[in-house]
Assembly symmetry: C2
Homo-oligomer: 484 residues x 2
Amino acid sequence: MNRQDLTLLTDFYELTMMQGYYEEKQNETVIFDVFFRQNPCGNGYSVCAGLEQVIDYVKNLNFTYEDVDYLRSLHIFSEDFLHYLSGFHFSGDIYAIPEGTVVFPKEPLLKVIAPIMEAQLVETAILNIINHQSLIATKTSRIVFAADGDGIMEFGLRRAQGPDAGLYGARAAMIGGCVGTSNVLAGQLFDVPVMGTHAHSWIMSFKDEYTAFKNYAKMYPDNCTLLVDTYDTLKSGVPNAIRVFREFKESGHPLKKYGIRLDSGDLAYLSKEARKMLDAAGFEDATICASNDLDEFLLHDLKMQKAAIDSWGVGTNLITSKDCPSFGGVYKLAAIKNQDGEFIPKIKISENTEKITNPGNKTIYRIYDKETGKLKADLICFAGEEYDTNEDLLLFDPIETWKKTRLPGGTYTMREILVPVFINGECVYNSPSVMEIAAYCKQETDTLWDETKRLFYPHRIHVDLSQKLYDVKKSLLDQMSISD
Amino acid sequence: MNRQDLTLLTDFYELTMMQGYYEEKQNETVIFDVFFRQNPCGNGYSVCAGLEQVIDYVKNLNFTYEDVDYLRSLHIFSEDFLHYLSGFHFSGDIYAIPEGTVVFPKEPLLKVIAPIMEAQLVETAILNIINHQSLIATKTSRIVFAADGDGIMEFGLRRAQGPDAGLYGARAAMIGGCVGTSNVLAGQLFDVPVMGTHAHSWIMSFKDEYTAFKNYAKMYPDNCTLLVDTYDTLKSGVPNAIRVFREFKESGHPLKKYGIRLDSGDLAYLSKEARKMLDAAGFEDATICASNDLDEFLLHDLKMQKAAIDSWGVGTNLITSKDCPSFGGVYKLAAIKNQDGEFIPKIKISENTEKITNPGNKTIYRIYDKETGKLKADLICFAGEEYDTNEDLLLFDPIETWKKTRLPGGTYTMREILVPVFINGECVYNSPSVMEIAAYCKQETDTLWDETKRLFYPHRIHVDLSQKLYDVKKSLLDQMSISD
């Protein structure tokens, strides 16, 4: 597949609906919101990611001759409609929250304002991209939090759900806080550090473990991590590693950065024993890296048990977000422009209150405590609503409305977190580099208290509605229930 | 990303090891096996898939000028080695089990025989591709079994882990038994049926539900499934659908294939009520399709509760294999060719008996009961071992060796399931079309008794070792434990 051509990466119903709109000559401008209802993995926040790939996708939208030919072969589309498709391009506006920002349920991560035919087509691919990368960035952020300052390396490519899941998963993992990835293609395409040493097969291909270690160290004296568990970690692996470290030291050409990697067995016990052996041999600066089915829970427990591990390679459980492998972002109609050019708010009701959408053309203000810089709450309001931070701000829970907080004027700051990305089909946004996004994401998670980052039952950040948005939503709901 | 260039889709350590082999002038021919240790999701079997993409990958292996340039920029590779890479191509042999075959733990799904530098490079991408597609094909096979003959449609693109996970996930889902996919790109690339109707946004974009239905039916009279849960399934959706069906019937142009789709609420209750309403109105041939967070367990329960559902759209839980999102295939060294051209079997030991590898150059015979055609057992043996099915065959459990079965000569048949795919770097295998693979997979699952296909605690198929392979493995293990 050529990355330039994801135009047909869409659900079939987007095209049947498009033809329906086409035939009905119904192509009014609409607003769709991308949002999610729940943070994955029980987390207290999410990290949004994937915008750069969404931008590439939208820029390159284009039905080739082959695409149109294929659609014709399905015998369901008219020649008129196929002709329309062959000239298709995206002409609308897109607003989005920049990648690496911490986000919360119900917030529009991305807002498409476009003729309904265009807005409908892009639903599936936008969701696919944002759902995937936000999932992995969020999972990584949890794992990085559990590691409490130790480096996390992304090692999951072989278990990722296909090449893209490995590639863009590595991208999202770097955004979420990994220090490097084993994925060479990700290193090339996103200019991020690549890492790794050797496998068991390296050891097995030499006549013995010592010879394998010795040869590896000779090759890579600047950065030499030896995998010590091929035969027996404490009886064979660690002693052989120490022997090699010592030989280099005694030769007058000591290894620069060096250490061992544990990949099986009980990592708490083995790391502590290995640490003692390394220290006793005078190699206090040898690092211990661990891998083998790690996740944030095991990592958290190993840290509690004072495992002597300096850095962690995390594979399967990170790259698939094993306990919660989907993000659940949805794409819902929020408004339709009428003939007077006004956006008429639309709402999707549901028996489940949590599933009721927020209507209208919206934006989000993020509110910080002025003194600490910590995030206090998010406020969803209509685009264009303005606030004066010198005045008091009354926030209330949009479901349990009697729960209120008053922020005194001058004690808080606000910033709008949705920014323009496309205007009239033109891209007006420059994506930062992945490492820049990662640095920004670090700042973002620093605006959260540890209570919100806790792995279990984290403190919830409030996402409130402005009085104006709340009133419109309530009146739409009241109309709906009357018409029932 | 261009599908032609996945050469750098590899773990960094494959390249550092390659350089190590290069510098050591150590490039003997080796054998690596791809196998897995456990069926995913507690299943009784797996379905292997992904071979066609592995073939494409191997055919197109090639370090471009940009690739070499990138690797040079890492300041860890020598010019000699980079020069070697710039001329790299795969020159070895690959044997594999054809896609759609049912497979079991410990069996080599794929066997690479190549100079160690080449065999090492391809590890990561081969695992990535086989792990992903085999996972989704297996998950789909479970869901299809639970549906007991009803059609399953793959609807997961928006929740897949990136574009490839959607695309190749759809491919694997078709192999595993889906009747169609919503993924248009999968339809185009793999020539498989695409399916889908309309979303809630279609309904919401018209002045009312009836008008939306009417317009949709006018557009698609040959195949018209109306989504009935936008406002209220039984009070509004089903009555409006019936009104539209009736109007078309009375106009003398009845809809050809038509029905409704339920996407929320209790599917057992709503489907039975909707069925009564449709039947009472004279639309016994209207179909009822259901979607909304389905998996094999919910589907199984809904069937038990006699939900009146004819076909099922399955999304997130299929495309991510939610309860088990990775397949766990590994790539292990099995033999090294010595200077006399003989393969010396290699074994990777482990404290965990299940993790000990099977050494040597192996193949697999599948054994069927002659009368029923059902699969009796698989036998892993050395390549070249021959059997006469007119003679008795003694099988024994490779761990609990006292558990034995004697198959009388003439009562069983055997076939070798590993086939040549590359010989001396040339591809000698033609991949069937996806629909051909799907038909073959259906035949394959038909060789299993329902006891093995059961969702919970399925009957285990035996995978035994030949006496010769068992003896070599035992003697290698004995040597290892003595040298400890």
